[in-house]
Assembly symmetry: C2
């Protein structure tokens, strides 16, 4: 039998997480490991295992987002993992951007391959090869495809979920007759991401357009969804690209369609994606010194029920728990789990489920049964609420909604309180000396100024506003007319 | 505009499929391509694209099977794609079996790797590396994990879904305290596969144990689910392996746990999987000269509604169609689609949806609306049924059930009528001269006899019965005591 010593050791293991405010990076790693979201894999740096609890969060994300992607007319498909080098290099900017990060397959079985194959870092070049076969006439357009898969990018610095050599994602790929349709699609998917990240993941974000420096390799315009980490740094959570005709044009994949007017034309293309990085964002944004705090909409377990009594549960407690589970789970579809384990004390269980970020804990013992009231504890605020058993369904529903809203509000307040507007480089330097976060400034649009700001301050452009700014100021760097409202920040 | 010529060309394209009985192999390829289940990818032999219609079948398979896997206590996780060579070679039989089929990564980014990495052909070695970290005490067992992912095996002969260099699958990996628990698990998953393949995919199968020659590389026992193709050949659809302690033992991954009695022990392991090959089985088994026939339970579209009237639909028809869709889809959850396209004649649409295997077609025009009756056509039998609009929900439900049952019955009848029992090699040769299919014979258990049979007849062992045979005969090859009931067949 496991000794009580080893259980106590486990207890300490679960409990002791470094303070989030003391060392965000270590806190993050500890929470990911201790909550069993992910693990390292052998000595293979940058490759991580997503453990069942972490993966179940990904399944929730997939399930919600997949519905939204399908509701806007997209269908899922699966494209090959490997890309012949000659295809990957067809779009010049694309290969220039990705070649430092590509993993190459040299051998198939015992034989060396005649031409090496890239493991997809993204699938534009694969998809285009197929699009050129599938598209003949305007009747074949639009093509609206999405793929859930793994990709590899040979990153140097890696961190669970936030940046790893292999990650899981969805990548949408669409093809349209008209330029404006492609732009509409790009913005439609950006909005789906924004809505999903804010309303389902409870993460407050900014959206905007990337500057030339931040554009996806091969895109004409890249839009981004970014949030602010607790250290004030920026985390890019999703991007949506208008690829124009860069890939479809003659010199690249030469995809043409017969237009209504009888002419051969090149279609317009988009691609867009979010990845398991979202899980990293959730951990970073919402968690506290006790561990994870999961937004109810994507929490694998929304309610953890902890019956009192370590050695033996009284029959009335067992009956009441079954009754509550049936009502909450079977009748109302809440995701409920009961922790019947006898080897741990209630206090230990509280710690563990707090660490795992379950939004609501219900405690129930003989006293609660007798008084027909339950103790309900909110993970986000620690608030303890006495709820009559007869009202439990409605109350749980209400409290889950409150938690969801509260997490978004917190995240929004933090972002806004860490966003400053500046008019000059001096002001900018002052601000960043005192507070990390986003800085909004007018900008002339010249990459030189962007580079200049970066060199002087370490700040990079996160995005510019999508709509032209109504107000116009002078460029924070060169003082010329600043048509763009630029958001600057440090990258996580 | 697409000319009527090109539409007619499409018409012919959809219609002309080679007869299944004339050339099964060509028929199969044509149906897969024309029904848009899959496509080739560039010149990369053996790598296929699963197109949206094919992928939606996979999504249905995943959705049903995933529930069954979770209902038996398994959780999903995600393990890395790449395996350091030193891990892959730890179990001797395993690497011997897989090394001819492994794709190797030599470069990450611009740099050559110090040690090359295998793309997973299966994940036992990866999973064991993690299990050895996660398991300490008997309290940590069983571990019941499943993974949905892509794998690569560098096959020489490839064919859509049935055998490709990359395929999608699920692989279960479990670890148990006791030998008998592992065996129970292995058989439990075998039964889940059998039940799923027969009752959801309507494919009649045999189940059994593989002989030594057919065992998974690294297993102590492999169980298999196999079906019979229309040419009488055998297709393996799923396998479940009892890995014993081959991977957990000291010389391999050295996974130990502290047992209840305080001793360090090696746990017992299983793994089991089915893949996108199931889609190939569905196509092969159920299809006919007009194309696919999909079992209702996994058909992405169960009912296709084709309104009459090419140029303009009358208002009563439109209203009635909306009413029927609402009733069938929104109220009863059937997967229904209406083909409103105006560019094609009804006859063309009939062909296309037959090709795509939609189980039920409903035709509706002004006459039907007036008479309050619909023409319902079964894909499996071609039977036309007049159904009063008022009874449509119940009737569709009933007909879908009938189709599901009929497909299984057909498949079962075919298998049984192509299975023969023989007592001697002479009889065996006689039978296979006249009919392809399964041959059941007694066997002594000696691999030499197996090899002998193979050399003389081209037949390989499909499986032996799981339970010991009650009757005992003499070995079909050597005439010694035949304790095993062996099923022989040719591999697809």
């Amino acid at each position: 039998m496991a000794t009580s010593d080893s259980i106590e050791a486990n207890h300490r293991y679960v409990k002791n997480v470094i303070q989030k405010s003391k060392n965000l990076s270590d806190w993050y790693t500890q929470v990911v490991l201790k909550a069993e979201l992910a693990d390292y894999f052998a000595d293979l740096k940058g490759f991580h295992v997503i453990r069942p609890y972490g993966y179940s969060i990904w399944e929730k994300i997939q399930s919600i987002l997949d519905k939204k992607i399908k509701a806007t007319g997209h269908e899922n498909a699966y494209f090959p993992l490997l890309i012949p080098e000659e295809l990957l290099i067809k779009e010049a900017d694309h290969i220039a951007g990705f070649s430092p990060k590509v993993a190459w397959v040299s051998h198939g079985g015992k034989k060396e391959l005649k031409a090496r194959l890239a493991i997809r870092p993204t699938s534009e070049t694969i998809v285009c090869t197929l699009f050129s076969k599938w598209v003949q006439s305007w009747r074949d357009l639009p093509i609206l495809i999405n793929q859930w898969c793994n990709v590899i990018r040979w990153e140097k610095e890696t961190r669970f979920f936030l940046r790893s050599k292999e990650f899981l994602w969805q990548e949408g790929h669409t093809l349209h007759c008209k330029e404006e349709e492609a732009e509409e699609e790009t913005l439609r998917m950006l909005e789906i991401y924004r809505d999903f990240i804010e309303n389902d993941l409870a993460i407050s974000v900014i959206i905007g357009k990337k500057t030339d420096r931040g554009r996806f390799a091969g895109a004409i315009r890249t839009y981004t969804v970014e949030t602010m980490m607790p250290n004030g740094r920026s985390l890019q959570l999703g991007t949506s690209h208008n690829l124009g005709q860069n890939f479809t044009k003659k010199e690249a994949f030469n995809i043409t369609y017969l237009a209504k007017d009888g002419k051969e034309r090149f279609p317009w293309q988009t691609s867009w994606g979010v990845s398991t990085r979202l899980i990293g964002g959730i951990v970073m944004l919402h968690g506290d010194d006790s561990g994870l705090i999961l937004p109810p909409k994507i929490a694998p377990i929304q309610v953890i029920i902890i019956p009192h009594g370590r050695d033996k549960y009284s029959e009335v407690v067992i009956d009441t728990v079954h009754h509550i589970v049936q009502s909450l789970a079977d009748n109302h579809g809440f995701r409920v789990k009961v922790d019947w384990r006898k080897k741990y004390r209630a206090g230990w269980k509280f710690c563990e489920w707090e660490l795992k970020g379950v939004p609501i804990r219900i405690e129930i013992g003989p006293k609660e049964v007798e008084q027909k009231e339950l103790l309900v504890v909110r993970r986000d605020t620690g608030e303890k609420i006495i709820v009559p058993i007869s009202e439990i369904d409605d109350q749980i529903n209400l409290i889950l909604q409150k938690i969801q809203k509260n997490l978004l509000r917190r995240s929004k307040n933090f972002r806004i309180s860490h966003t400053n507007r500046v008019k000059s480089l001096e002001q900018l330097t002052d601000v960043i000396d005192n507070q990390n976060g986003f800085i909004i400034a007018f900008w002339c649009g010249d990459s030189k100024c962007e580079d200049d700001i970066r060199e002087r301050t370490g700040l990079t452009s996160r995005c510019i506003s999508i709509e032209p700014s109504i107000e116009i100021g002078s460029c924070v760097c060169c003082n010329k007319t600043g048509n763009y409202e630029l958001t600057l920040g440090k990258v996580y």
